[in-house]
């Protein structure tokens, strides 16, 4: 399945783009997606341990399954205010 992954802040700058277009097996988890990104985008790898993942605009743990069409985002440590 195709998964669109939104990038923000330093991740966006490091990747040089605001989103990644991934092709993942159906039933992939958040953890599986992160391992895939690590392989495909080595520039992002070092930052992934600090990143939280939102699926459908909600934080999701590594075991969470990504359903087709869901909006996925990588969130570096936030700092509003």
């Amino acid at each position: 399945m195709k998964v669109k992954v939104l990038l923000f802040a330093d991740l966006r700058e490091v990747a040089g783009q605001g989103e990644l277009a991934l092709e993942l097996p159906e039933g992939s988890t958040v953890g599986g997606m992160l391992r895939a990104i690590e392989g495909i985008y080595p520039a992002l790898a070092g930052r992934l341990p600090q990143v939280k993942v939102a699926v459908g605009r909600r934080l999701a743990g590594p075991e969470a399954v990504i359903r087709p069409g869901e909006e996925v985002a990588l969130l570096p440590p936030v700092g509003g205010g």
Binding site: A9, G79, G80
Partner: protein
Amino acid sequence: MDQVELTRSPIDVGRVLSGISDPECGAQVLFLGTVRGVEDGERIEYLEYEAYEEMAREELFRLCQRLRARWPEIRKVAIVHRLGRVGVGEAAVLIALSAPHREGTFPALAYAVKELKETVPIWKKEVGEKGARWKPAK
């Protein structure tokens, strides 16, 4: 009633205060976070805010719900956050709430500011004389 706003325009404090006023409320408290001109000895030029806007709005509304669950006496809440470039001295964030009596409003306001900084997908790039860097919440 919760008012949540992400905006690229200067924050109008008077308008927000009018928005949380209520004839049953005798207490309004407000936090205004402004951009400091110096950080660790470095002169700052401006901050640049970026958000995952749709999720940030949803998180801000969820923050309002948590506030009301802990302090049910709260009547109105307003949270306004700037996006884009914000100059030194300008307000980057405003949180205001009203309640019939003041008890509870101070810890509620402190909680709201802390939660906003720690849970809402907004990022801040600090641009100073030594360069630019993304600054997570402390």
